[in-house]
């Protein structure tokens, strides 16, 4: 019962924060709503007895990704920073989203999900599996991170001369 109350509270935080992310007029507020949602997702992980994932969620999403997103927001500061407008296609977006929600909820109820009792996995079990059965994908993931790091660095660094920053945009500069 207690876990259901906590779950409802966290779910409300998640949905409210997510709605804030997609509807907030102020870009910085959207980033802070995103932080709320990510922290609440970490809470859901704890309730699902996945403590390791909760720690990873707080460290990577709450710490790194939100900060990087805020950096990008500040570096691409626009005149409409505090009053950003949406696409003109937002009614279509609402229709598509609601349609997908209907399909998903219908599928969920049609499949009648039934699980056994909640069981978690200890740090030790996750680590053992990750470094034995999943060792090769793990190494590939580290390679992906390395490539992304180098690529992001090269892209964001810019070139030597001002105005000539390495990537041509076809003379289409506006």
């Amino acid at each position: 019962m207690g876990s259901l109350i906590a779950y409802s509270f966290l779910a409300a935080l998640i949905v409210g924060g997510a709605l804030g992310v997609v509807t907030s007029r102020n870009v910085a507020h959207a980033a802070l709503f995103l932080l709320t949602t990510l922290a609440a997702v970490a809470g859901i992980f704890i309730l699902s007895l996945a403590e390791f994932l909760a720690l990873v969620q707080v460290l990577i999403y709450g710490g790194a990704i939100t900060i990087v997103l805020l950096f990008a927001l500040m570096l691409t500061r626009l005149e409409e920073f505090s009053n950003v407008r949406d696409n003109t296609q937002w009614p279509m977006a609402i229709i598509a989203s609601v349609a997908l929600l209907v399909v998903l909820v219908g599928a969920i109820f049609a499949s009648r999900p039934s699980g056994a009792a909640l069981r978690g996995a200890s740090f030790q079990e996750v680590g053992t599996q990750l470094f034995t059965k999943w060792a090769v994908p793990f190494e590939v993931a580290s390679l992906v991170l390395l490539v992304a790091l180098v690529g992001a660095f090269l892209l964001a660094r810019g070139g030597g001369n001002p105005g000539d920053d390495g990537i041509r945009d076809g003379g289409n500069r506006s």
Binding site: V84, A93, E125, P137, D169
Partner: protein, 101 residues
């Protein structure tokens, strides 16, 4: 809480993220919405790992990989957005039509 609650929460979060991806105009905000969708997937994976998987860790391992790819994706996408902003002076997705025929 049961598997049903987890799935419903995941579906709602995914749909909200989809709306953000479709409706937002600022590239960074679209990226935030993509993060919402990835989190919805993680909630689902963890739910199934906790409720149905006999080995209990498969969903967690997959979620770790999802988070890894998400981190790489955010880094690269933000670098691309910064470069776009430097070259074009905008991160407005309606005006970025470089690769349109």
């Amino acid at each position: 809480m049961t598997l049903l609650h987890t799935e419903l929460l995941s579906a709602v979060l995914f749909v909200i993220g989809l709306y953000g991806v479709l409706a937002r105009r600022n590239a960074v905000l679209v990226l935030m919405s993509v993060e919402l969708m990835l989190n919805a997937v993680n909630i689902n994976l963890i739910g199934y790992a906790a409720f149905t998987d006999p080995g209990r860790v498969l969903g967690q391992v997959l979620a770790i990989f999802v988070i890894t790819v998400a981190a790489a994706e955010v880094g690269l996408a933000l670098a691309i957005i910064l470069r776009l902003y430097r070259n074009r002076g905008t991160v407005n997705l309606n005006e970025i039509n470089l690769m349109k025929w």
